[in-house]
């Protein structure tokens, strides 16, 4: 097929603006799926994706489209993961495209992620076709949405295509506009192979399957390919394109979006953004934009029941097969026993990993408070990074602590600007600027410490804006901060799993918060239990659990001792769910409750 008749594009949108529904309509219009087999949100394959309405792993599909004006076209619809944590993956998926449909919900207007996605598309030099969705909804405001598209996105509102992905209105016109608006791919099939890895997944039988966009050259079965970032080589066993299932092809040529299977053992070996070339005649330069992504958020992950340690380990390895960005290493906490220290791309990634472990592997987990990576310069000049509070060196040996800052974009109706400014300044944010998107909404730019974001910032933002504010961020740099480690002591014993790193100004409040919660959760004992929050040797907050004064039950009843025996057995059962800290028994749930920060 002539390259002129190929269109490679993606749909980008703020969460819930209808991306998956629009993708479903496009797939339908191209008659890929027998209507009897149709499911909502075709491209979202995991339950958790369908439930949360987000895409975790991107999916890609090759469609045949017959233009109303005549002509047979190939549409490669490249789906992108839908969250800030996966910015890099999104940017690589976009790099595989020649244009995007920038979808805006006419009932919501432009949101923070719309803007963030726009920047990603612009960085990749893509044709951007604005699409206004949900025009069938009564509260749709197409004119304001156009105003937002013009003012805050800088796009020509004349280009905007109104549609309702739900009812299908406007979709036929949209498909024609795609042909006109998005340029066909370019490429030279006689040049050396250059293919972009924009995603990969693990298949039980085939190993890692890489998703590629071919820029130059061709690739076929039997070729020995080379990954330019790692230098690893593999022999290709199969190439093809994505239809409902994989569809084998003889070769992939420039402009194609498809897959390569080459006996690659793990997705860890397939770095997103890497360039695939031929081993015997390699390209001289890789494609630009490759980055080795590093986790930004860390937490300890422990099985609620220590017997589950091996199950947790297996589950993590299985998840890792399909999620190269998840990293973990064995960890041992005094309070929580054996577990893992895990690194995630961001908070959502963390939640998703935990939810999948609990759901797909049926594990009960205890998660420690999320932490970010700190850069510490010791007095001797030695520089180290830590992501685990227990690894924090003694403050007397520390010259400087630096923490990661992000550039954050918040889009909000003007009514909530005051609340949001307060929230941001409480969270040590630095205001950069504010722009009006339209008459009702503004775009705020801040620099914020990542540590504050991982500490429930997003939930608070949603609650103070009644769910209207949207938020996106990108890592900026490391900055010096007065960070301290707060230890929590139960009856004088530090509980390692509860230590956390926090800005000194907030240490007292947060320490107090935790011990107050602990006070409610730890049952009374036969003795008084002091609870303390401490920075080094200095106590910054204190509470006491007063001793039980009465723990005695009434009589046996006519020689029926079974109730009493059951009581003892219940005590024993209860004790199994306790963690012993010194002579104090702390219910396992305590860690769940405390680590769930409000």
């Amino acid at each position: 097929m002539n390259l002129e008749n190929v269109r490679n594009f993606s749909i980008i949108a703020h969460i819930d603006h209808g991306k998956s529904t629009l993708a479903d309509r496009i797939i339908e219009a191209c008659n890929l799926v027998d209507p009897r087999d149709r499911k909502e949100q075709m491209l979202d394959t995991m339950d958790i994706e369908r439930e949360r309405g987000i895409t975790i792993k991107s999916n890609t599909i090759t469609l045949n489209y017959e233009s109303r004006k005549g002509g047979h076209y190939i549409f490669n619809l490249i789906d992108t993961p839908g969250h800030v944590d996966f910015t890099y993956e999104v940017s690589r998926a976009l790099a595989a495209c020649d244009g995007v449909l920038l979808l805006v919900d006419a009932t919501q207007g432009v949101e923070a992620q719309t803007i963030a996605n726009l920047y990603l598309a612009l960085e990749n030099d893509l044709a951007i076709l604005p699409v206004i969705n949900k025009i069938d909804v009564i509260s749709a405001d197409v004119e304001s949405t156009k105003e937002g598209i013009e003012k805050s996105l800088g796009l020509d509102p004349q280009d905007a295509v109104p549609v309702s992905a739900k009812t299908g209105v406007g979709v036929a016109d949209l498909l024609e506009r795609i042909i006109e608006f998005i340029p066909p791919p370019k490429g030279d099939d006689s040049a050396r192979l250059k293919a972009l890895i924009f995603d990969s997944y693990f298949d039980k039988y085939q190993g890692a399957v890489i998703k590629v966009r071919i820029y130059d050259g061709t690739v076929k079965k039997g070729d020995v390919i080379k990954f330019m970032s790692t230098g690893n080589t593999y022999e290709v066993t199969e190439v093809g394109v994505f239809r409902i299932d994989l569809e084998k092809r003889k070769e992939l040529i420039p402009g194609d979006v498809g897959y390569i299977i080459a006996g690659i053992k793990s997705v860890v070996d397939t770095k997103i953004g890497d360039t695939v070339t031929l081993a015997k005649d390699p390209a001289s330069e890789p494609l630009t934009g490759f980055k080795d992504v590093k986790p930004m958020v860390f937490s300890g992950l422990y099985p609620m029941y220590s017997d589950d340690y091996d199950n947790l380990k297996d589950a993590l390895y299985k998840l890792k097969l399909n999620d190269a960005s998840l990293i973990f290493e064995p960890d041992n906490s005094f309070a929580l026993g054996f577990g893992f220290r895990c690194g995630y791309l961001g908070l959502l990634h963390m939640e998703i990993v935990q939810e999948r472990l609990e759901r797909e592997f049926d594990l009960a987990l205890v998660t420690t408070a999320p932490s970010v990576k700190y850069r510490i310069t010791l007095t001797g000049g030695h520089v180290m990074t830590i992501d685990n509070p227990v690894k924090m060196p003694d403050l007397s040996t520390v010259e400087l602590i630096e923490e990661p800052f992000v550039d954050a974009t918040i889009v909000t109706p003007t009514d909530y600007v005051g609340n949001i400014m307060t929230l941001v300044s409480e969270n040590r944010g630095v205001h950069k600027n504010m722009e009006y998107i339209d008459q009702r909404r503004v775009q705020l730019h801040y620099e914020l410490p990542l540590a504050e974001i991982v500490f429930n910032f997003y939930d608070k933002l949603k609650s103070i804006s009644r769910g209207y504010a949207s938020f996106d961020y990108e890592l900026k740099d490391f900055r010096p901060s007065d960070m301290v480690r707060v230890d929590i002591l139960v009856n004088g014993e530090p509980v390692d799993a509860l230590s956390f790193i926090v800005h000194r100004d907030k240490s007292r409040v947060r320490g107090k918060d935790i011990i107050t919660k602990l006070k409610d959760i730890i049952p009374r004992h036969q003795f008084k239990i002091p609870l303390q929050a401490a920075i080094g040797a200095s106590i910054i907050a204190r509470e006491n659990i007063s001793p039980t004064r009465k723990d005695v039950t009434a009589k046996c009843y006519g020689g029926d001792i079974t109730r009493k025996r059951k009581l003892l057995e219940k005590q024993k059962e209860g004790k199994k769910r306790m963690k012993q800290i010194g002579s104090v028994e702390v219910p396992q749930e305590a860690f769940l409750t405390i680590l769930k920060i409000e």
């Binding site: 036969q526 003795f527 039980t548 004064r549 009465k550 723990d551 005695v552 039950t553 009434a554 009589k555 046996c556 009843y557 006519g558 020689g559 029926d560 001792i561 079974t562 009493k564 025996r565 009581l567 003892l568 057995e569 005590q571 024993k572 004790k575």
Partner: protein, 380 residues
Amino acid sequence: MKLGVYIHVPFCRRKCDYCSFYSVPVDTLSPEGRAGLEAYTRTIISEASMRLPQLPGAVIDTVYFGGGTPSMLEPRQVENVLSSLRGWADVEPGAEVTIEVNPEDSGKVSAFRDAGASRAVLGIQTFDPGMHRAIGRSSSLCGDDHLDSFFSVKGIVHCADMIAGIPGQDRAGLVAGLDRLCSLGAKHLSVYLLSIEKSTPLASRMKPGPGAGEEQRALFEAVMDFLAGRGFSHYEISNFAIPGFESRHNMKYWKFMPYLGLGPGAHSFIDGRRIMNVTGAVEYACSGGFSYEEDVRGKNSAAVEYLMTGLRLLEGVSVGDMESRAGFRLTPGMLARIDSLEKRGLVAVSGTGVDMTVRLSREGIFLSDGVIYEIVEELL
């Protein structure tokens, strides 16, 4: 073999709001109610006739009519049950025969005595009308008339049951009530701390506040101090007696001695085996009093039960007795726990080896659930 016999009477005119035990409402004024109790008595007699012959050599030295509300029975029915026991086993002369009596039945006490009862336990629970309402006690509030007719009966040991630790209960009032009972000649007083059991009507309206434990303890300490001053021995966590008037029957539960339970839901403990009768009154009647199952327990259960019940007695448990009755010797781990409890002032230990005894200290009484658990934990 000395044997206690417990006769369970799971009938009440109306169930109390705090009660979490099985009971069946019976209207003694109706012909059906009376017929029901008559049928029940016949089934008890039938059960006795089947089970006692299986225990050759048993000499009954205590009988206890407990409930429910055993005083709903006619004295004639009590007498019939007792004579059936005599028919199927030896009953020791001077055997202790106890019956629980509700205030509204106090007029029947002399007739119960004539039927063979030697002890009567008056279920007062509280003299305070407000507290009586608060816990939803169904029987009559015990008034002067009830006390007069109860305590005026000669030739019987007068006992009473009280409840302490009702939220808002007045300490002075509680002690004054006990004082009155002492003056009237009560020889045995059981004082139970109110426990609010799940899924009782009381639980739905009474939630113990954070200070409830403290308050209960203060009330109970007042009870202990007062009764000690009146010559009562505090011999079991909830029981006080003028020395010599301890309940020999209840002692069997605490001392791992055999007893036969008759009636719906009654439990027996014979030759180290625990037998549970079918609970439902109708099922019991339909089975002719012959439907029970063994409570099959784990290998350490005897030791657990021995300690769990024995430590409730304030004289404590003796290691030698435990070895001979439960066939169990304290493990080094348990001895270490006991040592640690002693250091914390929760138990007192005297003697060594088989002469060693372990008993709750005053502080230990109040924390006994935790103390007992700590000792037996490794056996569970």
